[in-house]
Symmetry: C2
Subunit: 424 residues, 2 copies
Amino acid sequence: MDYRETARAIKADSTKLGALSGETRNEALGAIRQALITNKEKIFSANREDMAQAEAEQLAAPILGRLKFDEHKLADVTDGIESLVKIPDPISQTVFRRMLDDGLLLEKVTCPIGVIGVIFESRPDALVQISALCIKSGNCAILKGGSEAARTNRALFDVIREAGLAAGLPEGFINLIEDRSGIDALLMCDDAVDLIIPRGSNAFVRYIMDHSRIPVMGHADGICHIYVDQDADAEKAVRIILDAKMQYAAACNAVETLLIHKDAAERVLPLLQSMASDKIVFKGFGDVQKMISCDPATEDDFSAEYLDFILTIKIVNSIEEAIQHINRYGSHHTDCIITENDAAAEQFMTYVDSAGVYRNCSTRFADGFRYGFGAEVGISTGKLHARGPVGVEGLVTYKYKLYGDGHIVGDYAEGRRAFQFRDL
Amino acid sequence: MDYRETARAIKADSTKLGALSGETRNEALGAIRQALITNKEKIFSANREDMAQAEAEQLAAPILGRLKFDEHKLADVTDGIESLVKIPDPISQTVFRRMLDDGLLLEKVTCPIGVIGVIFESRPDALVQISALCIKSGNCAILKGGSEAARTNRALFDVIREAGLAAGLPEGFINLIEDRSGIDALLMCDDAVDLIIPRGSNAFVRYIMDHSRIPVMGHADGICHIYVDQDADAEKAVRIILDAKMQYAAACNAVETLLIHKDAAERVLPLLQSMASDKIVFKGFGDVQKMISCDPATEDDFSAEYLDFILTIKIVNSIEEAIQHINRYGSHHTDCIITENDAAAEQFMTYVDSAGVYRNCSTRFADGFRYGFGAEVGISTGKLHARGPVGVEGLVTYKYKLYGDGHIVGDYAEGRRAFQFRDL
């Protein structure tokens, strides 16, 4: 079967899925949760094969950690499904009802987006989370996971698909792409796929954006800043910088550039260096090189996402210079000011044009779970539709329903009738 | 000055505009309204020159009608500004406040999108409406109007710019592109322009989408359907079809394809033909050709946006066939069912995947003014961010503000602290 025809069939099924009651979708989630527990040995066994191959190929420890799917990860995802069942139905919600005129009623009602393609890293738990978010929001999912997790993904997919179909979900509710060429086929289906959410390397996200007409939600870069203000508490600053850089350096919300006010540099930089105890490579721009031992930084470093224990440091003369730097070189992801000065904090948080603007806390908090969304489908650095960590509400759109009884525009255009606009 | 530098300067000004109070932005709108009235003779005079040239070039009557800017149009746009001043400030609104933990407060707050490029047809009133919507929502505007209105647009722009600057808006709040090459320059500025709203021909919108990385909000086609159900009232159906086709055939919300249930065709089609009294060219598919005099239709007609007094007609065997046809060939703009049967109406409105799903009223109601939005920046057939007619709320995004006091993620990851998630 041609992949475009397959995509159209999924599209047709998406209207069926969106028309199911919230109760049916919740029951399907419950059945899937139970099936994952019942079939856990089959899943763990597939994962052991993936892990064995990954170890034989000597993949790095953090990749192995994400790849592993064990009792602990199973508990996480089944807990996640349980909390998703409990939240209110995000679709079929009336946003407003308005009488445009006697007998002419306008309703704005939430509904699913339709068909969503998600391309994600080698984390099998992500497959379960994304599937559950899509079912909750009434969207059909086309999934492509990292190849290192191929066997685990297949096992999880089989369990979810079988349980979902038995619970009454339509045939196309979940779909798995198992080879890289399937991604290019997916990108061509702009008449059937409504949204692509790529999670992965910057180059990959950029590739997706440049090779498809399908809207993309995601982030191409995570260049996060911490600005240490002249009124910063030095110990607080160092504690936050170390967490933001070292707690998980490969994350998009890790800090890449430290901007420091000239009047705070002497207090903070030597303390930072001593507390980092050689675990961070500092790249100093300009005068920073005179204050601590560091490698030299160039302007290119301001646009670099290291995803490693490397931190660029630049001294600024004012908060305005810091804001300007962030808006110019940053990726509008998450940026933080360290200050005890309320006015400076408000200035920074108003003028910095990022999805997350923080005061006195680690940039690593930029995450759907930490924001209390229960689950996240990804983080968006775009400004349209959804910004920052995206939970189930990012998978929902709306439609307008207009109920009349023979109403025509000519009557209003020619003054025989007039609109009333009464909100109900 | 290089156009990229200009765009960056506008971008920098957009954060200033977004930081102004709602009061300041409303006062600027009031000053602009007054300046338009004070300078009306200058504007009318420029418009007379545009009109004279358009008449010399023998442009069609509807184009001349849209191009004209007189006392009547002035009253419309100044009334529009007045109602815009009265609506609540769409930015700096708190969507939610949540304590993540003691001393760690998350706020979701609305804010402007930033810099918005709008390319619009030869309607000078559109320039005023779009500028006012952007000021109300705190966005900088880059405007490109149709070349036929060049003198009027320049006069309106000069008045709006001068009054806005005098009222304290930043330098870059409004910008005018006066030649076609400026559009291509605009499309390259994806680091400074956040959104492009093209209004115009399908081919043009498609060109914009294919030649820029900047997100586009708009509609590439307006292929709207009316489905006449077996339980339709024939006279109601004909009245609505005639309005939807003839009240303004060049609009995107005019009907292009009529689908009619086989059991309603005999009752409705001859009546439609007699009421249309030769003003509509009917293109009949299949059996329709046996029932009324018409030109033959092919499958290509199902995807055609005529923008003219032409209507394709197809007989369907069921409501399901109608829904399937609309979801396959339509443009997800606005589609209507004519029926007296409540269940059929709900089925249609649930399963048709369009921004507007109507019962027993003309597709021509799909319009921001008729929905009670006061003004519209365009109509979106995309599903992300904004769908259907887009008012001021479509020009707004949000950011997350997180206030802490030395909070780090390591404490939560290692179990020393736990999230509380208390909504305030």
